[in-house]
Symmetry: C2
Subunit: 402 residues, 2 copies
């Protein structure tokens, strides 16, 4: 009698699962060089410091560490985050911060609080795949805004805002996932000038901001747009993703709405992890830790970009990121990177993510792909690019045969 | 220019925050004896064992403990949970289990996967306040089904199912929050007979199931209804809520839908806490731990029920739970426990939760209230009941003057 398929909500029927989930089994085949992931390098996980922090936090206040807590998150951790923004010239109050289960939860909460079915929202094209899928559950109409080497296409954004009533825009201005591009300061200024003329929410999805390893520093969009911005931060890329700790920064009003939404979603974020992380941050030099990561990611990025220049056929284009974890590759228009993915896995065992899922329109990006350099050492990266260069050349020579 | 209130979704506009959130500040006033909470007793939090488990788990596999993980949850922990159900005669496969951020997240995911606006759902009356509020975000039409000392009113349930197309029912069959009532075995059997005739989801919200301290054991609704049931379990009440770890048990198909939903919500539950908890479960005798808790909760329950019999005026009624953390008190029909709450706080400094928020209709339960005995010792409970008895007597003598 019981048939769950007849009972599913419309949104559940639409949720086919992430693209990565579909290609993931192949990337785990033995011998594969995997550039498809977006994982931080586990060499940097502070295993012993986290053990020590757990012991200190639990001995100091185990009863509260293991009890229910406030939906907003651990006050001391919110304070720590607020103070850290001072470095960027931002004065944030702890009550503007909500601790989330990674910044992905921030995206979902924003969708909950601001999107009704049919509302229009803008999103970078290409944009963060999981944001597209997460927002899609709230049934907005997506409008893509292009990205160039300087960041978002401000002229296009201006046009979109002028001709549409937009509820929010999702952006990833620093070392964007998937392209690795950072908005320049002049792009940020120009974007702010346009955005401030309309009443809508600017989401600044900012997990990679601290991972700049070359080029000029930029500032958060909050410096230009204030409370119009909701910034999403994360400890996943600077400490460890297994702790599942991120945060939102927003006006006190918006934060209150996000808190009320979160309370019904899961009451609060893991207090045990919050206290352990807070103790870790007190007892360790996080900036030294981040500096070390920057050095390693720079070497890995250089290995990838240099090897692409050497081994990729001349008709390919690729970004040259100044931070973060990703390089974005564009093949000639007629190429199909999904076909290339299968060919690459079959013949060279190199994995990447085809470009299609990074566009909300479901059709752009077929000739593009995302590669991550975060977890492979420079030698493996060079070997991987050599192989990938070979398979791209073969593919471009005879795409229809493959 | 920026005005977030103009941008809120309909569901955010409806979300006024939990009732507990409104009365919470008063319950924290100095000198208050607080029976309003639903917190487990922190005397049982295994502080040193968790420190030891953290060290072992991190030394054994820190890189995976701190890395991103599978949405489904830690395979070993899912296996442990599945095996534990064997004790109840249930054969559950690990792939039927999804690890959630406490069982509250399970409720939200079920709403996401099964409810479209306007769908009808049944819920116990009184029922779990946070479930009412969480499901309300998916805009169902609630239909209450009464509770008596034997559990859900099966005749009423039969009538509701016959006359409505119900998508799901939310139940808490073991030591229900808020009433403390457990469905008897004959109620479970009769309920199953009725439910199996209709295609809808039975949610068995079961965080207190292991906390029976007297009376005859009962079995999970899954024993009677199989995959028609989604069972929500939790480590919050048997280990510690600060770990924020719960789970769902469902058919493989339904589990897959819940996993796809969760992936877009927060990718996965905290792996650090999952590995630490799993190590704790391996290294410690959890059944001995639970038995100890049962003994203490029994003593606290006895203190509350005995003192209510002694000090409450005869026109009050109260449940006599055989497990869990709550007693439900019913005053004469014309009483208003919100007025009583203010009077009690002002004159006797005793806190409880008024009954109104436990009913989805927004109007029943005005003469009822929930008390928790979980965190106070027997002496404090007796003193609290003495004071509360006094204030109830005064209130019933002259309700309009107060």
């Amino acid at each position: 009698m019981f048939n769950s398929n007849e009972l599913l909500s419309k949104r559940a029927q639409k949720n086919a699962g992430s693209f990565l989930r579909q290609i993931f089994p192949r990337t785990r085949e033995p011998g594969v060089i995997n550039f498809a992931g977006g994982l931080p390098n586990p060499d940097f996980f502070p295993i012993e410091p986290i053990i020590a922090a757990t012991e200190r936090a639990m001995r100091a206040d185990g009863r509260n560490t293991l009890q229910y807590g406030m939906t907003e998150g651990l006050p001391e951790l919110r304070e720590w985050i607020a103070v850290r923004y001072e470095k960027q010239g931002l004065h944030i109050k702890p009550e503007q911060i909500l601790i989330t289960n990674g910044s992905q939860q921030g995206i979902d909460l924003i969708g909950r609080v601001f999107l009704d079915p049919g509302n229009k929202m803008a999103i970078e094209a290409p944009g963060y795949m999981s944001a597209i899928q997460s927002f899609a559950m709230y049934e907005p109409e997506f409008i893509g805004v292009g990205i160039n080497e300087q960041g978002i296409d401000v002229e296009q954004l201006k046009y979109v805002l002028k001709n549409n009533s937009i509820k929010l825009i999702e952006t990833c201005p620093s070392f964007q996932n998937p392209s690795g591009i950072a908005y320049s300061t002049s792009t940020r200024e120009a974007m702010a000038k346009v955005c401030s003329q309309y009443n809508f929410v600017v989401v600044e999805d900012d997990p990679y901001a601290e991972l700049r390893f070359m080029g000029a520093e930029t500032k958060s969009l909050r410096n230009y747009l204030g409370d119009q911005v909701i910034t999403l931060g994360s400890f996943s890329k600077i400490v460890a993703p297994g702790l599942r700790l991120g945060w939102t920064v927003a006006s006190p009003d918006v934060t209150r709405r996000l808190v009320l939404a979160k309370q019904l979603v899961d009451i609060h974020t893991n207090y045990f992890a919050q206290r352990v992380l807070y103790q870790y941050l007190l007892d360790n030099a996080i900036d030294d830790h981040i500096n070390q990561m920057r050095g390693v990611y720079r070497a890995q990025r250089n290995a990838m970009v240099d090897a692409m220049a050497q081994y990729f056929p001349p008709e390919t284009q690729f970004t040259k990121p100044e931070g973060g974890m990703f390089v974005w590759v564009t093949l000639p228009d007629e190429a199909d990177t999904m076909a290339l993915f299968n060919m690459s896995m079959d013949t060279e065992k190199v994995a990447f993510v085809p470009g299609l899922p990074f566009f909300a329109d479901g059709k752009s990006g077929k000739n593009m792909m995302r590669l991550s350099y975060s977890t492979a050492n420079p030698e493996t990266i060079e070997e991987g690019m050599k192989r990938l260069g070979r398979v791209i050349s073969r593919y471009l020579d005879a795409p229809s045969k493959n």
